[in-house]
């Protein structure tokens, strides 16, 4: 490759990167606008609460199975792995603390958010994308019904309400799973398991912070799912790509937000 060709291809690459960055920033702006509109037109989601209720059913209740089963296994694995290491230092009775803190502070909110993005997020994206592709949203507009108030906002609030509930259930079921492995299976003392946990898990610092995290994750994941569906090209391929983007972007955002929130919440 000659000198000028090399320079030209490098310039093209840079141009491509710049173009993609501008595209992404522009999309972020459109997404932020949708977020603002969803909040502004939220009145109907609460005045006609059955709209939101229906969405809570489809995002929250339908996710219960995967959340409960995953929580159970995560809790059990935490107990197993934790015991493996703790018993080397003679601190196997701290297993309760380990399982509880790991779940309540981090795994509860984060894993719930990731599972939510995969199950409910993709469902939302596909549904909205298909509604757009089959002109249902246009039809609503032409009938003088605001599609953002009627379709987008109820789903947003449903996700925001469902997420902390799911995260709490995840943490509790996980701890129960850990208990079942630690006490009946391994033989850690029942009283020590709970009392050490109670002594070391602070309601305000750990549980409430976990809830705040799951609330923030709920906003992020639901909004990403809604935006990707709303912005998807109205073709079969467009919708399927949009659902993939929902999962990928939600996951990355949740993990990044987790770091940011944790660093704010750490009391050193």
């Amino acid at each position: 490759m000659t000198q000028s060709n090399l320079l030209a291809s490098i310039a093209n690459e840079l141009r491509g990167i710049g173009h993609r960055m501008i595209e992404r920033t522009w999309r972020l702006g459109v997404g932020a606008r949708l977020f603002a509109l969803a909040i502004i037109y939220s009145g109907e989601s609460f005045k006609r609460f059955h709209l939101t209720l229906r969405e809570i059913y489809f995002t929250g209740v339908m996710s219960l199975l995967i959340i409960v089963v995953s929580a159970f296994f995560v809790g059990m694995v935490l107990a197993l792995q934790g015991y493996n290491t703790l018993q080397k230092y003679g601190s196997s009775e701290a297993i309760g603390v380990l399982v509880a803190l790991a779940l309540v502070r981090e795994l509860g909110p984060v894993v719930t958010a990731l599972l939510f993005a995969g199950r409910a997020g993709t469902a939302i994206t596909a549904e909205i994308g298909l509604m757009k592709a089959t002109e249902q949203l246009s039809a609503m507009e032409m009938m003088a019904v605001n599609p953002i108030a009627r379709v987008i906002a109820p789903r947003f609030w449903a996700g925001v309400i469902s997420m902390p509930i799911l995260a709490s259930i995840f943490s509790m079921v996980g701890i129960l799973g850990g208990y079942l492995v630690a006490v009946p299976l391994i033989g850690v003392d029942d009283g020590a398991f709970w009392s050490q946990m109670q002594a070391n898990v602070d309601f305000r610092l750990d549980i409430v912070n976990g809830l705040i995290k799951s609330f923030v994750f709920g906003v992020a994941c639901t909004m990403i799912a809604l935006f990707e569906g709303f912005d998807a090209p109205p073709t079969a391929e467009g919708v399927s790509r949009a659902t993939t983007r929902t999962v990928v972007i939600s996951s990355l955002t949740v993990l990044a937000l987790d770091f940011v929130l944790t660093s704010f919440m750490m009391v050193v």
């Binding site: 509604m131 249902q136 039809a139 009938m143 003088a144 019904v145």
Partner: protein, 268 residues
């Protein structure tokens, strides 16, 4: 009370640097069935969107009942849309609602009528399109023709003054086509409404239209009653109306010289 319920005045519209419409003038008198015809991509559906206020013109005006559409605020546009009913190309029924709920949708959203009245009205509208017995089905359980009829019942749910049809005959079997064709005319006369049909189905449209506008190259290429157009000697109109293979719209997409592409020896 103006004689023309919709007027398109020196309209120009374009995007991405390309002008789709360049100076279109059309009037739609009350009580008539007017058709907008033209080849694919000539911007017919876009005209419906401009009338409905979903997009704004670059130049010129669209007036509905004397009001300029794109100068209205949100409430103004919604008021205008309440006078309109639109039948989308493939029905655009809400897939999560039953046939009954689909037709009831505009009534429930835009009026305060009691449920008992809504029930009667929905059954009346469904009866008008011949589907009163199918009110409990879901849209996915309907055939194309039936779905189109339900969408028509929904479009006339609030007895609109303007009914717009986007390719109402596309993809239908002959019987369904005949049914829809008859319904468009009879409903228009029964409701005293004005119907605007966007189509490229010459046979059906000419049966029911009072007046036809031909759109080509961004302007109104021809207009008149169906009879006038059948006898027109304008090459474009003649080719379109009689379905001729070659004419002003060429058969061959522009390409290089045939022999040179096949690498045949040029016979001198």
């Amino acid at each position: 009370m103006t004689a023309n319920i919709v007027e398109i005045d020196h309209l120009s519209f374009g995007y991405k640097g390309r002008l789709l419409h360049q100076g279109i003038n059309m009037v739609f008198p009350r009580g008539k069935v007017v058709a907008i015809m033209g080849g694919s991509g000539s911007g017919k559906t876009t005209l419906l969107r401009l009338i409905g206020g979903q997009i704004k013109p670059s130049k010129g005006e669209v007036r509905v009942t004397g009001e300029v559409v794109h100068k209205q605020d949100r409430d103004g546009i919604y008021k205008l849309r309440r006078k309109m009913g639109m039948l989308f190309q493939h029905g655009a029924l809400f897939t999560d609602l039953s046939v009954f709920d689909n037709v009831a949708f505009p009534m429930r959203e835009l009026t305060d009528l009691p449920e008992s009245m809504i029930k009667d009205l929905v059954l009346m509208k469904l009866n008008a399109v011949g589907l009163r017995g199918a009110h409990q089905f879901m849209p996915t359980e309907l055939s194309g023709g039936m779905a189109r009829r339900v969408a028509l019942a929904r479009a006339i749910a609030l007895d609109p003054e303007i009914i717009m049809y986007d390719e109402p005959f596309a993809g239908l079997d002959p019987i369904s086509m005949g049914v829809i064709c008859g319904l468009i005319r009879s409903l228009n006369d029964a409701l005293g409404a004005t119907s605007i049909i966007v189509s490229h189905d010459v046979k059906e449209t000419f049966l029911i239209a009072d007046y036809v506008y031909f759109v080509a190259d961004g302007v109104v290429a021809a207009e008149g009653t169906p009879n006038d157009l059948m006898q027109s000697t304008l090459p474009f109109v003649h080719q379109f109306v009689h379905g001729e293979k070659d004419g002003p719209v060429p058969f061959h997409y522009p390409a290089a010289h045939y022999q040179s592409e096949l690498l045949l020896e040029q016979v001198v």
